[in-house]
Amino acid sequence: MATIELENVSKGFRGGTPVLDDITLTIEDGEFFILVGPSGCGKSTLLNAIVGLEQLSAGEIRVDGQRVDHLDPKDRDMAMVFQSYALYPHMTVRENIAFPLRLAGLRKAEIASRVAAAAEMLELAAILDRKPARLSGGQRQRVAMGRALVRKPKAFLLDEPLSNLDARLRVQTRSELARLQQRLGATMIYVTHDQTEAMTLGHRVAILNGGRIQQVGAPRELYRNPSNLFVAGFLGSPGMNLIPARIDGAGLVLPIGTIDWKSLPPGFAGRKQAVLVGIRPEHFHRARTDESPPHALRVEARAEWVEWLGAETFVQLGPQVFDLPAGPGGVGELAAGQSSTVTSAAPIVARLDGTEQVAVGSPVRLWVDAEDIYLFDANSGITLSPSPSQRT
């Protein structure tokens, strides 16, 4: 097991935009580290660069302090699970798992005992003599895992290992994977586009977009204190509601209401600027008499659509209440540059308790604690700091 350090790693093709742009990361020994981002963000390229399947244009990769970026994949002692699993179709499961050991020149008895141990750990004993074509998706995934862990490598690299499984199996395999990582104490780097996998599996998560790291941190930290609009919009399902607003003499002016100065963080007083307000769906509360906190945004809107899911109710609020112009550098422009998850026309979604009854088309009164409101610069998308409070 090992610590993996990336320093100023870049990868680009002549004349093109960089695929990886100055990435610096440290992955600790025994850490379950997640690289997450939308497709095309460079996360798989980064993984391939770490394992040696892609050459770097610049930067260094070190494993336990030793530079490895000039080494061939076979000399880096890392194992990889491919998205397609890439099992050798002409070999049985046993031969597939034994292949890296055979290449390493281990003795037959040693190979047999290691394969047996891996097969037992992954419940593959019954299918050791089958060929990959006769395995189910879940079995193939486990064989790919077995081939990786039988070598006892310095690190495991997994490229979307669950994306070819059906939804039910994916959830099951996800927790098995987490247990396996814990048991082995292995350094794992896991690439996914699925924020649920990132949040549930990762000790730490790096969010990538456009070849750059947007933010690195524990899932809770990223969710509570996103450093920019992209991270805020990427995590959470349904995503954070984004509403164009401005700060002026009256306070924070939203199309759906105004928050006075006293509730805003210090440092905003006297500034005038266009901002984006972010509100997570679960931070909307149904307004009853005299129960909202003193600094709250109060909203009255029409319930355009209601989805009742038993434990929770999602209410889509009518967009017509938010008809303030976005202004220059408004949300539409920003959305194009930042993320597909943010569009100016996106309806506002509130998540209420499942016991709340809201009729479609009826007016609904909600409030949001000023503490739970995120502010982003309308031009750069950077979180305006300090955030209302460092959320924990």
């Binding site: 994949p73 491919f82 699993y85 099992l87 292949f99 290449l103 395995l135 070598r151």
Partner: protein, 280 residues
């Protein structure tokens, strides 16, 4: 019986009839030669399809001939050598062309194709002179070299088409598992490309086996003369007798190894070898 099943049966009947016709068309000359080879010399011109009496005399004559066994040995040796010497480098070349990106890759493939289209008759004359100067005339090597040159492009094309069907993930997985590029080719790519390797090998072998042009121009004795040429040099027992029976027997003998080879290799030419490698 409903109209639909009878229509289907009729369709199947038509299909079978068409296949029979094709098989008959292809095999009739072969059957004719087999029949001729089994006839007694006196019956050769009797105009019957089946021999009146079966005799192996022609075969005995062929193998008692001083030329023929040597020619058979030359053919087997030269064709096998040409096959190995052509297919092995072709496998390396095709793997490099498919998997590595280097400048001039397309040019190489196009060039290979151009060589394959080059009319062999145009180089036989110069080769004759060159080979005599180099001492390659009437040697095995003297035939193996042109066969390899002319079949290499074909083998490269066949093999690169096969290599392309193998998912790149498998190469990468092998490299991560600790394989050198050669080990990747040896343990992962080559076994999966086996149908392609066998196809290429058969094509090269048949080309070398059947070649008459080079074999007749570049050989002069039984040191390197191959079967097709040897058959052409057959003479009857007298100047006025055509050695038809012997030629027929020799033709059957020379056809058999190819048939055996194809049947043996056919078991390996199955599709779907890469099933289960990725996705699914």
């Amino acid at each position: 019986m409903t109209g639909r099943t009878s229509a289907r049966r009729l369709g199947m009947l038509g299909e079978s009839a068409a296949m029979l016709a094709v098989v008959a068309y292809a095999l009739a000359p072969l059957a004719w030669i087999v029949s001729l080879s089994l006839k007694r010399p006196g019956d050769l011109n009797d105009g019957r399809f089946l021999p009146q009496a079966v005799t192996l005399e022609n075969y005995r004559a062929v193998f008692n001939d001083v030329q023929f066994p040597a020619a058979l040995w030359n053919s087997i040796g030269i064709a096998s050598m040409a096959t190995v010497v052509s297919v092995v480098p072709a496998a390396f070349a095709a793997y490099a062309i498919v998997r590595l990106s280097f400048p001039g890759r397309r040019l190489l493939l196009a060039g290979a194709l151009a060589i394959a289209m080059f009319p062999p008759a145009a180089i036989v004359g110069p080769l004759f002179n060159l080979w005599r100067a180099l001492g390659l005339f009437d040697t095995w090597l003297g035939l193996v070299l042109p066969y390899v040159s002319l079949t290499l492009p074909l083998a490269i094309w066949t093999l690169s088409a096969y290599f392309r069907t193998i998912p790149r993930d498998l190469d990468q997985a092998a490299r991560v598992d600790g394989a050198t590029p050669f080990q990747t080719l040896r343990y992962v790519i080559a076994p999966l490309a086996a149908p392609g390797l066998f196809t290429a090998a058969i094509l090269v072998f048949i080309f070398a086996w059947n070649d008459f042009l080079f074999a007749t121009a570049l050989t002069s004795t039984r040191a390197a003369r191959t079967v097709p040429v040897a058959i052409a040099f057959f003479t009857g027992s007298s100047q006025f007798e055509l050695p038809t029976g012997a030629i027929a027997a020799a033709s059957v003998v020379v056809t058999l190894p190819v048939i055996v080879l194809v049947v043996l290799c056919q078991r390996h030419i199955v599709s779907g070898l890469t099933a289960g490698a990725v996705k699914g």
